[in-house]
Symmetry: C2
Subunit: 391 residues, 2 copies
């Protein structure tokens, strides 16, 4: 049984970035990771740009009145050569002529008979965004491995890109075992419960922009199990077993993985929930067997699978953002393992939600984050700082 820290270290060491990449339109790039540096196609701004609605002026401290010789709307290609003492009307975003030395905002300007004068102090070089102030043509806009969120997509669009090269989205298989499990919507017989881990995990993957997901129900038969595992190892990059490798199905799944040459990296982590967590690899494919208890499986997703997915796509192995917050109540650790507790952030404290059992999901539906109680921490007083993984 290894520590949480060692388990994370081993996952980080073993997960390989996918080598496949694809060119996609910017509109379909959300949630993906760049497979190469992206350079700016342009100087941004492409010209000295007015930051205000106002007047572009060939200015001198000696001159009080300026002759108005035209208007430059945003997008206009009018670029007059202003002589000293001349000005043009200009709008935010408009190209400031090279001959203009400052832009005076309209609130500070008096217009009279084609001439302007100023009602506030003016100096050279006001309200002009220099050409290439943000970035010059061919400079790196976003490096390889960058995550494409709304801001990144807007930024690349602003710099002229409509297509980008991204790492392929990992193909995921979710394998479920367990004859006691019935699909939601059907009736339960005595002894049966609903199988909801696969739909829960599928949604968790979707929330991380992973959409190529197949479900496989593993049969209760050795040969078929070996064949099913062989098939997903060929087709997919990431295999997730839900129901884990517990006694009931231990032999088939474990021996099915072994028969397919999957190498165990670790089995069992000193944590609660989710002790029976298995991680193995084969030819750069990753195999996680998650605990069957839903809250344990979802915790393992956020703690281990999320950073693995990031790294698999060429991003950093970061996982959930971690912050420190004061805990809202005293807490005494009961388990002899590190704990991940469902927590709710309110008034800049994090409260431990009730219903923390690994079988229970209700507290997860209320949670903003997972409070991490390291193995070394036995007791916390209200107000002590704890680490929270934001989910």
């Amino acid at each position: 049984m290894i520590s949480v820290e060692n388990a994370l270290k081993l996952v980080k060491e073993q997960v390989q970035p996918l080598s496949r990449s694809a060119e996609v339109s910017l509109n379909n790039a959300f949630g993906r990771y760049l497979s190469e540096d992206v350079l700016s196609k342009i100087d941004m701004p492409p010209f000295p740009q007015s930051g205000m609605d106002g007047y572009a002026v060939h200015f001198s401290e000696e001159i009080d009145r300026y002759e108005l010789i035209g208007e430059i709307a945003a997008g206009s290609d009018f670029h007059p050569s202003l002589k000293l003492g001349q000005a043009v009307r200009i709008f935010t975003g408009g190209a400031v002529p090279e001959s203009a030395t400052t832009v005076v905002r309209q609130e500070d300007v008096l217009v009279e008979d084609g001439w302007i004068s100023f009602t506030a102090g003016v100096k050279q070089n006001m309200n002009i965004r220099p050409k290439a102030e943000q970035i010059a043509v061919d400079e790196i806009a976003l490096p390889k491995g960058s995550y494409l969120d709304a801001a990144a997509i807007g930024y690349l669009g602003m710099l002229g890109h409509d297509r980008v090269h991204v790492i392929d989205s990992p193909k995921v298989a979710i394998l479920t075992t367990g004859d006691e499990l019935v699909k939601p919507g059907q009736a339960l017989a005595y002894g049966q419960v609903y199988e909801s881990n696969s739909i829960m995990l599928e949604q968790a993957f979707r929330s991380k922009s992973i959409h190529q997901i197949q479900h496989v129900k593993l049969p209760d038969d050795y040969d078929q199990t070996v064949a099913a595992i062989e098939k997903v190892l060929n087709d997919c990059d990431l295999i997730v077993l839900s129901g884990g490798i517990s006694v009931g199905d231990y032999d088939y799944v474990k021996s099915g993985l072994e028969a397919n040459g999957v190498e165990e990296v670790f089995y069992k982590v000193k944590q609660k929930p989710g002790k029976p967590l298995f991680f193995g690899t084969k030819n750069q494919k990753c195999i996680f067997a998650l605990p069957g208890n839903p809250a344990a499986a979802l915790t393992a997703f956020y703690v281990y699978l999320f950073p693995a997915l990031q790294q698999m796509q060429g991003g950093q192995f970061e996982g959930c953002t971690r912050i420190q917050l004061p805990i809202a109540t005293d807490y005494i650790r009961k388990a002899k393992r590190a704990e991940f507790l469902k927590g709710k952030i309110e008034n800049n404290e994090v409260a431990v939600l009730s219903a923390q059992s690994s079988a229970m999901l209700s507290s997860f539906t209320q949670a903003d984050g997972l409070i991490y109680i390291p193995f070394e921490t036995l007791e916390l007083k209200k107000g002590d700082e704890v680490e929270v993984l934001l989910i």
Copy 2:
């Protein structure tokens, strides 16, 4: 010009939850909000459930050895009537017979010739999850307005649901103006820049699970503008104008909104970036005109549009999670307005990223959150706590 706090208050007062709802499969419910309370279809667990692999025992402190009379796998409908002194093998998740009074984990059991004895202390009622411990049939599992994330979807599946009623996803129109704007991928003429706000905002909406989005490029013509606004007011729930209501296009858009009976709730907010923010309503439809500068537009999305979307879908007007963190450097506010700064969280501090200009998106691509500097705060010392909106 109103304050950030007043602007948020007015948005919250005006945004109405959509009345349309739909029944969707649980698999398509991610990111939606329940339109009604959802009750549990079952007791969960539906029977007293074993929390361990071990032995279910009709236990007495007087008895040392128990007769093993069978096995209950998870899902088995075998429910023997155990006499005092009898036991059955049972697996995690299996239905504990009513006649069993405790479950002893297998690590603490010695099996010999069909009889078991214990190697550790045993008492009544161990390792049994009581029937309906999590929830009883017909109790409210999740109330109306609940947000459906992976945990909520797993929870409803676990309780037997395969379909749920959710509030309709708002229909959104993104209207862009500005003849200087060119689509990415094309060449720029002098004075032109790329239009990337619409794709950036579309991705921001998608990140909040809003997918019914139409783009409309507003023509530079009064009658056509009135007609285009009329059409989206009929078709959509939320209208977003990118490029805002600045001088260049002020008349057409502003008068186009007025001609369509849109009532102004506010115009201009005492904030940086994003002062020229317009919010109006017509028949429960919301109209936001966002500033044209990309970083200002995206800030407005996170601060105002995100909570509006939540409330429109029957959720709480919460917006981004807000936490307090120490600021990593001294900061002196320059603007005479409240500020939202792009911030990066590291080592439990938040650093103010460079390139904060409202025209610049590069810092947004690095940001974990927006640091809110209220109007009253003029100066911050390194280590002072600031509010961060997590994005």
